[in-house]
Symmetry: C2
Subunit: 348 residues, 2 copies
Amino acid sequence: MKHPKDFSEFVYGSGTIKMEDEFAFISKISPKQTHQPSLICGIGDDAAVYRGAPNLDEVVCVDTMVEGIHFRRDTLTPFQIGKKGLAINVSDVAAMGAVPAFYLVSIAIPPTWTEEELGEVFKGMDEIAKQHNMDLIGGDTVSIKESLVLTVTVIGRVEKGRGLYRSSAKAGDLIFITGAVGSSAAGLDLLFEKGLNGDFNEKEQILVKSHQEPLPHVAEGRMLAYSQKRIALNDVSDGVASEANEIAEASQVKMIIEADKLPIHEAMNAYPLEKRLKWALFGGEDFVLIGTVPKEEAVELADQFQTQGHLFKIIGFVEAGPASVYIKQDDELKKLKKHGYNHFQKRG
Amino acid sequence: MKHPKDFSEFVYGSGTIKMEDEFAFISKISPKQTHQPSLICGIGDDAAVYRGAPNLDEVVCVDTMVEGIHFRRDTLTPFQIGKKGLAINVSDVAAMGAVPAFYLVSIAIPPTWTEEELGEVFKGMDEIAKQHNMDLIGGDTVSIKESLVLTVTVIGRVEKGRGLYRSSAKAGDLIFITGAVGSSAAGLDLLFEKGLNGDFNEKEQILVKSHQEPLPHVAEGRMLAYSQKRIALNDVSDGVASEANEIAEASQVKMIIEADKLPIHEAMNAYPLEKRLKWALFGGEDFVLIGTVPKEEAVELADQFQTQGHLFKIIGFVEAGPASVYIKQDDELKKLKKHGYNHFQKRG
């Protein structure tokens, strides 16, 4: 019934790794250097401490991945599990327009995992962390009987009052997206079919990589926050349909997405349109950003994005009306529920 | 492979609860009102947002409890599991001298748990939260095949530069403790013996309650931070031996604890001394605070604590020497390792 409460106490931890190895493991995963100047105390005390700032709002989120539910060892390597575990949260921070700064990792380890594999999980997180100068500042390491459970908390910061919420959309706005959607779902489909070491052709490799190592759109989120325009924003973790519905509900608007404008990677060209559209709308885990912007601001933003080499694609528009999302295809409107189509409706 | 990332997306969540019930459940656990004026956005967007403050340091920690490892359903009720899950973290924040403000809850739910039981887990957390005006600001709800996993992240705040660390002890200091130790371990022993609905006498009930519903010493931590004295501090989550060793290591000092000064609840009087001492030193989960203070400051602090009705008991002293902890009993010194005694040594 010992309850190790942070990495400094991992030594009494899980019983998964032998006592001597645990010291080495903690030493291995503890950062040798930190990047955030506001950090006062990282791993090694009861809690981490960092300095508040008068000009910043604090942004915090948490996400859990469970072995057998959110990933399988035949779809992601341990490195990719770690990378994705952090990326999911960084994507949430990006969707607020914030800069990720710190993360804490709580990991429940079953006896089926080796120390080397666990090290890979932390290396995967470290790769994402390095890209954003993030510091690992705490966590918990416990044992569990069956499935690995990886819970990551991320703390980010955004200039005071500039956070981007789902509730800012208004009738007349345009809907934009910052990257291709559906690739991750297509990649997962391939992984289910062929397994982790399957023989993938060049296009398939692109899709598989999209599923295994999606990159959060932090730079895009920052450009949007920095623009100080009225922007509603969400990240595409659960598919375009779901994310658009969240914006529609939070903003109480009607959103119309034009099917032929959805950016779908050309690596998916071989699939029938229906399948591509299904993955784009309902697949999720693409970690691009979807949002709305006043019509008159869209061109300026598009220019800025193009200059920086980022995608800013208009995929629809916002109307007054009860909170709802429609997909427009061949002049026909279908209502998009969070996870499926329902009741057809002729446009006009 | 859907990955619900916060409560607003619980609806596509775990598959444990039926779709209709999930809405009701989320609505039930989502706070109807918030208490922290700095909160800008709680549950319902990609991440929570709260306002930074120039005069405050941010304190953050995370802890995971796994069914079958950290609790069993025959030792804690669902309400107590929730209460303890939050209390563990609040205790860590208290050990920094900080005020707990926010919490996020990630819960992996196996099919063996009912919606009512899950509601009880959240009610238990809410009870602790109410005591400290804390707001639930986010989380994640996922499914798991076997054991419930409860991960709580707590954010607290402390006046700039006043956080209390383990590394502040110096030779000449006195060691203090803010409450009785060993009760939780004794209570667990009784629960193992008689089960959740066992027939406990009055004294046993005190011990069982100590294990099931320990209260973090936030007020005590605040008094210590407020005193602005040089204080090293830790909470007793893993037993006095372990916590003292952490202070000794972080501060590079030798600590001597006097066995007859350890506050042990009179409800434990019936147990042999050896057992009482073992539980006090190695039991853990008492959530009192242990620390060091300069000798000349101890009386003032003791007076302040007494005025407020809190315990402030001197249990030993700090000497120069290699990082180590000794227990002094009948003029004999035994070295205290984190989880056991070793090599005896006559006090000379």
